[in-house]
Amino acid sequence: MSAVQVSLGPLAALAARYDRMVARGDAPVPGFAPAQIAFVLVLDTAGKVVAVQDERTGDGKKKRPKVVEAPKMPTRTIGVVSGVLWDKTSYVLGVTREDSDADEVPAAKAAARTAKAHEAFKVRQTELLTGCDDEGGAALLAFLADWRPEAWATLNTPYVEEMLDQNIAFKLNGDRGYLHDRAALRNLVAGEAASPDARVGQCLVTGKYLPIERLHPAIKGVPGAQQAGARLVSFNEPAYSSYGKDQGDNAPTSELAAFGYGTALNALLESDGADSKGRPIYRNRVQLGDATTAFWVEADGAEVEQAEDLMSQLFGGAPVLSEAEMEAGHTAQARDVMVELEAGRALRDVAPRLHDFRIYVLGLSPNAARLSVRFWHVGSLGELADNVQRHWRDLHLEPTRLTKSPPLWRLLRELAAQGEAKNIPPNLAGEVMRSILTGGRYPRSLLTQALMRIRADQGEGKLHELRVAMLKAVIVRDLRKQGPDTKEDYLVSLDLKETDPGYRLGRLFAVMEAAQAQAIKGVNASIRDRFYGSASATPVHVFPLLLRGVQDHLSKIRKATPGLAVKYEKAMSDVMDGLKADLPPTLDMRSQGLFAIGYYHQRGALYAKRVEGEAELDETLTATPDEADDQ
């Protein structure tokens, strides 16, 4: 576990990701543009030329200069305008290919122009770099101070002739990147690229005094927001401004930092090609209801991809491989880790290197021209894995038809009317996500929403396993927060000793439903269809009715198979033994949840040994509580 924890805000974390993207060469930089560099002069810290490197690609006659991101060349028409930190040899070195056919006068003019160009280059670099605190900048200034165009011929390099009139950049000896890639110089260039009328203020991301961005960058890639892109930071109504500030001054962010976080966020939300079925692949994004969730890992290196892939799977995305990866024969390594996690092993044991990576999760939802932050979470990948596993354990219910743990989007769909993603209650997705990420209590609305859907729906999906699982998760987690000595497998499967009235009533309801199904084959409207809602909400009114009705069913069963009727009666009396004589007049939400869980457990036990269409009562039903413990 790292010694220093971090609690950054979203903008600061995104700006840090942008910096890492730039270091990898993956991101555009303000003030930079693609340029063609042919040669590089490698300088030491004193400004002496150590070597000349050939950056061209291709071979033989077809050598072409390499395209790199370099400070944007100002428009150059007739006049002499110098570039910054790179240019062609007439500017950088003061030499150019001599035209041997020219007469004396034009040749003299050309020479004068070259000299002027070199002078302009020196002046421009001095203007930019004087006072800057960077080794590379100092080296370049030293080089320019000492350099004489005549010295070109004495450069110790085979490219002496080829270099003429090509673009030359610089590199400090020992650096991997160019001189213009050095952070301090990049900031200087970007600073100059800033808008001229921007006020200088303290940036709340970097703390430095830099020109402040007035209108923050647009974020594309959030479904539901306007097409042109929505803004994460915007003050587009008068009520949102304070202290008489206007637009970006309300939240002073330097133009560099704003460009940075905008680029990073857009990159995270972008799709990364398509999978074999043509669906877009999102490596850092998952959609939960209306909350687009972006997530990333703060680290460098090859394992970042594996860690982000694991996060994607933990949030319910499938491990996707693009066409190219499938052809290359990659297997989803993160799928292996996921399988281990689903089996219950801790991430610390399975992939200890991934455990300490710091992760960020940002949930965004659209609000016309703005983006609203649903949740923001900073933590470690190990914590995330542990909390997601605890969530799975809390959801675990038996009997189950699931082959693997349900992703969050699947759970949320169960809470929406008609299973439509657009009907998911808006706040719920964010709150459930937060409880999964932090291990805190589930929102109360999860319980009520699941109960509502159970009441509203009819047919097969009424008491869907996932709905009951969510009810169980809310109840169990609440119990555990109150008293940590709750059994680990509480309410996972049928609990014959549980005396909670809601649970027992649910079990009773299931037995009565089974009796009815046995008596009337192919019943049109079972008691579940007609009475479930009222039975779970107001048992005192409904159960006496049901108990009267079940006697008729039992007598019918007795005529056909008396032994079966006895089993049903015994089952009912076992359940009712644990109930008090007075039925509760109403059941509160939590008890209604237990009703649903009891119903589900009992029903699962009743139909556990279904033999060729005939429902048989499971032996555990009629066993005494002591025997049940052993089974």
Binding site: S7, A12, L204, S234, P238, A239, A251, V373, R434
Partner: protein, 222 residues
Amino acid sequence: MTQGVKLKISGERACFTRPEMKVERVSYDVITPSAARGILEAIHWKPAFTWRVERLTVLKPIRFETVRRNEVASRISSLNVKKAMHAGSTEGLALYVDEDRQQRAATILKDVAYVIEARIDLKDPANPDEPIGKHLDIFNRRARKGQCFHRPCLGTREFAADFALIEDELPVPCQSLMGERDLGWMALDIDFARGCLPLFFKATMRDGVIEVPPLDSPGVRA
């Protein structure tokens, strides 16, 4: 007699809004020095001095929740109010909420408790009528009795703060806050003297304690 005061504040909810996330509010993890200053000013303040917050201690674990609230998009302009005052009638001075509704989400802190340690900076130390001791005494007396000019709030007015003067030992932060935590750049205060300029400082929480630099310290100003 010490130079400073210690106050414990607590509340059910708090929202110390990040300036960049002011529309769809996201709160900082901990109390900001300007919010702490506001709480002290609610209890006792005179133009002769300013409060300088020195240390903030977080006592309870940091927990968030999200709420959505209906608010309005526009403001009543002060010019209109002035006109109404001169005219002597409020004719036409209205803001119709149902025409102007905006729903704004807010990510706020739940169940917070902090200790604020602060001292008084006199504007004019040479003035014999306003000794520091007098103001400290007034503050302590008022805090003990629960007196305030207006109810102190935790970031925004709707989240009221309960306060209690600390006279014995300082309460100890909870276990989960131990260790060092980097909070990034946090809003320090607004420099009203320089045109409402917002100032930020690099905040670090060590074992639940945040040391607050003075407004004119080198890390804050260029």
